[in-house]
């Protein structure tokens, strides 16, 4: 599936056998963990000259990575388009922050509750998975809108448009102050665990079943995959990860209101998955990083250039233009995502670009 015609003899550099085995995965993970552990120590030095609070943004990248990995299981691996991941994110955020603010739950317990409630909600709405393609996409979009309206209107519980304030911050036990750096480690420890678990999941029996039903549900059924059961399990897992990300996010921000969880959030998460690469666990990290940093970079450009051109001032207008263009161009030229397209380029030394205007002989 790594691009069209991968069964052809591959020319170019071939990696040795030991490198293609488990070793590559393990070494990659070790490198990644060490890199992420050292990153904030360096980030503090460059934050000022860059004009971007690097540690702050990196924490958000961690949060969105968790939600994007969850969505990627559903969208990339199982082939089910969901435009409602933001709803689970919102449910997680509200569960955890309301428990902390109104009941006085410790943060970690609130986040566990957020995961549980989001999963339960996922199970409740799982019947939408009977729908396919456009119908599923629209139904999940509808769910997102319903959750949004209820968060806004159930004022006695959620505070309505005023939101929830004074949410306690994340804190690692045994670390005294809730510094930005300690929050960074809190977020990324969770994110790395999620990445490892999901990476193992997609290589397992369940993962293979998932990819089978992406290819053809009829064929998967014939091979003995319980298609509807499998889809529901993945949907609930994806919802739970959305809830986890939302819970962490709320404690990171200290304040939430319904407008943070509009359709825009679901679409940003979709963009992360698509850009990072569908069917790629690490792609979610790349996608989350790119999509989270992009607006901050555009925002910071005026500070870099000094005498900023006037059109940059309304930067927020450009976010939608950039995201929309990214989604369209990626789908037309690299339908399996940028990270996968570039990997193919490096591995097979051939263009990953699809030529969409090529006429097919057989319609």
């Amino acid at each position: 599936m790594g691009g069209n015609g991968s069964e052809k003899k591959v020319s170019g550099w071939r990696s040795p056998a030991w490198w293609d085995g488990r070793a590559r995965g393990s070494i990659g993970i070790v490198f990644f963990v060490v890199f992420m552990a050292v990153l904030p120590l360096w980030a503090n030095y460059v934050s000022k000259p860059l004009g971007i609070d690097l540690v702050f943004v990196l924490r958000l990248v961690g949060v969105f990575t968790i939600a994007a990995v969850g969505l990627n299981l559903l969208l990339g691996y199982a082939g089910q388009v969901s435009l409602g991941q933001g709803a689970f994110f919102a449910i997680g955020a509200y569960t955890s922050s309301l428990l902390a603010v109104k009941v006085g739950f410790p943060v970690w317990l609130g986040i566990i509750a957020a995961v549980a409630i989001a999963a339960v909600f996922g199970l409740l709405v799982a019947p939408v998975l009977r729908l396919k393609g456009h119908y599923l996409a629209m139904a999940t979009l509808g769910l997102g809108i319903i959750v949004f309206v209820f968060l806004r209107e159930l004022t006695f519980l959620t505070g309505g448009n005023d939101g929830v304030r004074n949410i306690p911050g994340l804190a690692i036990p045994f670390v005294e102050a809730t510094t930005k750096i300690s929050e960074y480690y809190y977020v990324w420890v969770i994110a790395v665990i999620v990445l490892l678990l999901c990476g193992n999941l997609v290589r397992s029996r369940v993962g293979r079943a998932m990819q089978a039903l992406h290819q053809s549900e009829v064929a998967a059924e014939a091979m003995g995959v319980n298609v509807s059961g499998q889809k529901i399990r993945i949907f609930v897992l994806s919802a739970a990860l959305g809830g986890l990300a939302g819970g962490v996010y709320a404690h990171l921000q200290g304040y939430i209101d319904p407008n943070m969880f509009s359709i825009t959030l679901s679409i940003s998460l979709l963009t992360m998955v698509v850009v990072g690469g569908m069917e790629s666990i690490w792609g979610a990290v790349a996608g989350a990083a790119l999509i989270t940093f992009l607006p901050k970079v555009v925002e910071a450009i005026p500070k870099w250039v000094g005498d900023a051109p006037r059109w940059l001032e309304r930067y927020s207008n450009y976010e939608g233009i950039i995201f929309g263009l990214i989604l369209m161009l990626t789908m037309v030229f690299m339908p399996s995502g940028i990270s996968r397209g570039l990997t193919d380029l490096v591995r097979y030394r051939r263009s990953p670009f699809v030529n969409p205007f090529r006429k097919k002989v057989v319609e």
Partner: protein, 303 residues
């Protein structure tokens, strides 16, 4: 629950029905746009609501900013919106004609965000007032109705009739219907499938543009998503791909959207904010219980 408040609710009913019909007409036009594109290409265009946004914003620009006479401004606005639809088909949908459904969905979602951001870039403020074709109100027993409503009703009826005639009595319309039944067979009998796809986007954008400019009194960059999901709901309620289904669905949704929140607010004292969720709830319920729609006979894609 108070008996008096129930009487209040029934007293307000004519007004709810009048408002519901006016909104329903707009949903009908959006739903027909979804249907036409779905029939000829098999995709749901998530940017359909953005065509309405462009219709309204262009009409404002031509009529108010440039000061053109209203009929000319309206014509130009519809033309400009149709061009955007055609451009979208050539640049995005045509290259994706062999792509999977997921790819097509994500691409049209991308188009929708892109259009919305363009709208926000060029028309930055919140809402613009497109002039009413004829201003003022008139009263019928129990309700005050704006004169604009007659235009909305008239234009919708004319559009529905023209679309019906187009699909049933013209060569191009019949060819487009053939594409909806079987693209390969249509292509084998000499129908230019890709041109039909272009026509369908032009037509859908035209209808969307009309819906946007009669969506009085306000046009803004944010209306696309809401009109889009409501139009889709109307299409699904009636049965996706069916013109009369769109009419039924639009009217049902328009009326429910007024009557349900009206009842909840007047009788039970619930906030009117829930109105925004009516379409989404109706959409999910209909998709789950009767995905082929009220009028549909065929079975929608469902496992």
């Amino acid at each position: 629950m108070h008996l008096g408040s129930i009487a209040d609710f029934f007293g307000n009913c004519p007004q709810y029905i009048a408002n519901g019909l006016a909104n329903g007409c707009i949903y009908i036009l959006v739903a027909m746009g979804f249907n036409i594109i779905f029939n000829s290409t098999g995709i749901i265009n998530f940017a359909q609501g953005e065509f309405c946004m462009f219709g309204g914003l262009f009409a404002f620009t031509f009529a108010v900013t440039l000061g053109l006479p209203l009929p000319l401004a309206i014509l130009l606005a519809i033309l400009a919106t149709a061009l955007i639809g055609g451009g979208m088909e050539r640049l995005l949908i045509y290259p994706l004609r062999h792509a999977s459904i997921i790819t097509a969905i994500i691409a049209t979602v991308g188009a929708s965000i892109f259009f919305k951001a363009l709208g926000r870039l060029f028309w930055p403020k919140e809402a613009y007032k497109v002039p009413e074709f004829t201003s003022g109100n008139f009263t019928v027993p129990g309700a005050t109705v704006s004169r604009q409503f007659l235009w909305v009703l008239g234009l919708t009826v004319i559009s529905v009739v023209l679309v019906y005639l187009f699909f049933n009595h013209t060569r191009a319309g019949k060819a487009m219907r053939a594409c909806s039944v079987n693209r390969q067979a249509a292509s084998l009998v000499g129908i230019n499938v890709s041109r039909m796809s272009l026509y369908s986007f032009l037509l859908a954008a035209t209808l969307g543009g009309i819906a946007g400019l009669i969506n009085a009194p306000y046009a803004s960059y944010g209306i696309g998503l809401f009109l889009g999901i409501k139009g889709f709901t109307a299409a699904v309620v009636g049965g996706l791909g069916n013109t009369f289904g769109a009419v039924t669905g639009g009217l049902v949704l328009g009326l429910l959207e007024e009557l349900i929140p009206g009842f909840l607010t007047v009788v039970l004292g619930v906030s009117t904010g829930y109105k925004d969720a009516v379409a989404a709830i109706l959409l999910v319920v209909v998709l789950l219980l009767r995905p082929q729609g009220l009028l549909g006979k065929g079975v929608a894609e469902k496992v």
